[in-house]
Symmetry: D5
Subunit: 162 residues, 10 copies
């Protein structure tokens, strides 16, 4: 199946390359964030029925069977060696070195819970720093999920069992 | 901090041992599932203000400072060598061998999403099999979380930025 | 051999896709749990002589040689990278974080033993939570296996030797 | 908890050393296999109420609180570096190199199932080879466990749910 | 040295706990981001001479020798098991699954370069989503660093050598 | 070279499958143990000149070039993922959990040495347990190898050097 | 994509081999360091528009589509087994054994910061040692990057948000 | 137990250091190879009853209880980080890079078998090279162990069983 | 490139097999050690211009392009799974268990330095042991390399820089 | 032994801290490179008899027993987690990404050989880049070691044997 994913993604990428469009332009035309539209084109996210016509319009070279495959829930995965690329290592470095602080601030400001990575938005933006130089701004915006207290009376599956 | 957790948990376990009560009894007295009350006693889950008086009543030997510590959000962790114990390995074996099937059934029956491990209940029950022998029944009951389609217009953090 | 398994499974999946049937429907028609019928179609479980005609009826497009191969004991395996998919990671997270509690409750409620992963049932169900939202319920139901006390007089292979 | 296990085992070993008895003698006096009695003394197996008086008789120096601890279900574990010792590596080498053949012979001679490691006996014996030299004979004797076909009608936990 | 770091950090945390202040309050009083002030208190970032008096004012219980140690460049590190905590795993999951898309968008929008993790800001914020629910917003803001083309004439160390 | 081994083994397996014979029958006809004859057919052991005619007689479909290749010393290897299969994992579990006890019993009963995995026999047998149920009996029978005391006068290669 | 990189690099290497030119000569003709020109030919660095005509002149056999591909930002990666080669292992050994000293000298001589691996030069040179024998000199020359103090007022992305 | 080994070895090393003797001298006085006497002092080999008086004579400061402990079969082990030391890495490098050639030469010159690491001698010697410079010569001298053909009639443990 | 190496080596091996010559004979005819000539045929060592005509004479079937490729410096590597083969594992076991002793004897007898694995010889020999049985003797013979004291005045590259 | 190293190093570091001297100053006073003097103080390199008096003069607070220990050959090692620190990771990143190019340039410019990490110098310097900004320059300067062709007639240890 993984082999299938690889060849699907490489077919989609070829269409994008031929179109000459950037992810920024595709984001604009589909109303999706730039990161999300890239994920859709890598089969890391599902193309919704609502977004499909917009993508077809933006990338008219996309064959219909690819569009259909893109509408299926993908198996999400990544090449573990990806972390060798410095652009990606820096992200990982930040997360691992800042992770404990981020967790404790979530605990203080929200309670005992986490940021969802499913009900989640991500975008990449360009801003000028105080020194006038370009800066990369990556935003992770996820729903706060509090840990449920597991009371027996609220465990519906258990209610049914008894 | 990990060292702190180890000594806290071992103090709590000593109180439980002295009380002579089982997790089943503690679950009954606190209204929590048996797995969850065990997690609270291992500092893998936070003791809620509502459940604290019930636990104090169930385990009167519990010192007040331990009760207070149990009400803080814990750092959740586990000993990776735990998987050597056959009782725990079998669970892991089931998850890894059945995982792909479970994922695809979720996709077919619910859509493109996952079972939450945060808004989540777990319990262990005993039933008689068709051969009259004891069976262990473990129930995982988690909220279905659909993947969000990341539309720029819905990304509130991005709205604010512009 | 692994290569053989991959191509067998992909042939079976193609038949299922063409049939348009879900695992739920196949479970209904074969009398198997939804997870188990998915395992059979992934060559993670053996198709029994009794179930074979029902599966043939449910998936008439299945070539006879595939049916025969499905009746052989498979080598059970999984792609270790599977754990990257969030739907599967959450399951693993639950098992590893709750594992020690589950083991101790089995010890208290059953004795010194484990839940079998061989004499074992698994299913995925959909229920409504107390908030009316969909929840995924995964049930692991395995025979309780007590550790044998290894008395020399009960070790038949040793009796024969002397 | 692991630390507790280490100090318990080292106290038990000291008693054994002082007694001057071998595992063979302890096996004889308790009616257990030589491997199993060693496992009990390492807290890798539980001492049964029936065997406890025999062990007390065989090792009168054993303090009563250690005997009680030995009657609790242990957390089974091992030091992963153990495999460096050549005596243990050779066992592992045999299992990994012969494993696939053993599995296929079980399939041919018994069916689709495994040898239980729970309902299981193990012993070490000394025999003379055809060349008159000493040979180590290790016997693994485990119950055959066939994979259950997961029929919905036999899944008791599911019956209860509906 | 690592041991030193552990005991330093635990002393600092005790002071913070006694003060009853949150990271948000400390950030406010020191003019630092909430994540950065947490990093300073975990010895993952150096306390600057300029910020030191503000931190002393905010945490008057901080002994002077700790303040001095906090002004030294730390060895940056993290416990690899940290990733077991769901709050931190979700961050890692997002980075690894979205990483390739983020890298390619940086390439399209900025050129062949990376986001610095050294000239870098990080903060955690709380916003309301379009459904009125709380969301965690984590911002990574790092200087764009283009890869240098390594022309011999610009390699000053080489010029000196010849 | 590994690729060669894979294709050789798969050709041999095809011959066996066509013959309809089990490893038990092949063991009977060649005078080898059931595990060993399986190892020969997987190129994990060398076919001896003495056994070759018996194997040719047992499997007349075996091409002569395969027979010749089977008579070469193989590179012994295994797929590390093999351990995922429960039948093989249980063996590994037993070895790792019982290993230290087995080593110490060898030390007590034989001296400071090991069980050879080279001058070694292995077989799988079926017996009825005391409860009348089938049991799998795996026998490891290896020559006892005592560690040599390395006296300079016995080191022949050193004698020659001086 | 990785597969694409492998075949691109092997095509480029073939052109170089045919040309009979060394990296030293290519460095001379392009004005790049010898290590950098090798990186460009391995798709580990991007060929700049300015350098492209010089490389075309130096390697006239290079097809135009390869030149264009070489001008795209590459995914930077390496084969982890590369470290087996003694020439590369020695480099890694030096870095790991000397790393802590290098870090502390940077801290003493520059401040709390690092050597950039992005704004970075590398070259290999040959010198005669004091004993008149050849020595390999590898120079790493990277911009000093001081850690930013994360003041809220300087976090532009945050300013925009409020 | 490992902790015991560490403190035993460190006590033995202290005696050796005080004695001022080298391993070469101890080898001379005990009649053991230099490597073996070092192994005995590191509890990686057992001190034989025959060698004990010679070692006592060579190291009169050795307390009698240490001598007795040295006469027990040790658990053989090593620190996995040992491989970081360049002197030890070079050995490992040689073995891994030359291993396949060594194996094939053993096959050609001896047959299908291995060099024993149990009936084994090892020594370190100093010679002058053809250039008059010092060279380290390490000799591994182990008994050739041919793989046994596993004939059922020679498997004594199996004979007994039937 | 690795793929190239695999196919080159397999072509060379085929020539050797056809010639019917052993490594011992090739060593004799080329004047190289038996291990080294095997390394040359596996592209783990470079064929020197001086040895090339002798190898051509010994293996007349060797195509000229292979001979040329064999004269290039190879990338040295090995399959990490090689260590599964018992013949190779025993070597590794000896190195890891004896390594620390070997290092300390080098320190005592030579000084602070190592055995080179580059200016290095290796051979496999057959001797009769004191019991008249065959023994495998592996000799590692490497130049002693003392660690250089890094005096600034002797660092030529640094002299040039100032 | 490792524990000894840790406490020795921490005692030496305390002396250095009290002295208020930098590695640059110590290098100046001892005539060693800055990296090497740091290695000596971390017990990663041996203090030579010639350098000892200079170090004693530079750090008069150094107790004599520490000086003596520093003159012994150390076991060279490093904490594998060191690579988490960004200053050290960047070095490793450079080596792994540039390694293959460096190796091939050594092959082209010197022949089939490597840079020694034993007869080796390392220093850290500060230069101004073409943009006037500080740059870190790390120099690795190691003797070129050509691979020896292993001719039997040059293998002295083998000559002796015959």
């Amino acid at each position: 199946m993984e082999t299938t994913k690889v060849s699907t993604v490489s077919a989609i990428q070829a269409v994008k390359r031929k179109s000459g469009k950037t992810f920024a332009e595709l984001a604009q035309e589909t109303g999706l964030t730039n990161v999300y539209v890239a994920q859709v084109l890598k089969r890391q996210a599902r193309l919704s029925p609502e977004a499909a016509p917009k993508l077809r319009a933006a990338l008219p070279g996309l064959p219909e069977d690819l569009v259909h495959e893109m509408m299926e829930p993908p198996r999400r995965s990544y090449d573990p060696l990806l972390i060798q690329d410095p652009a990606i290592y820096r992200l990982n470095e930040a997360v691992m070195h800042f992770g404990e602080s981020i967790k404790e601030i979530i605990n203080e400001d929200f309670g005992d819970g986490i940021m969802s990575a499913i009900d989640f938005f991500c975008s990449v933006d360009k801003v000028k720093g105080v020194d006038g130089k370009d800066r990369v701004v990556i935003t992770f915006d996820g729903k706060y999920l509090p840990y449920t207290e597991q009371k027996s009376e609220n465990m519906v599956s258990k209610q049914n069992k008894e």
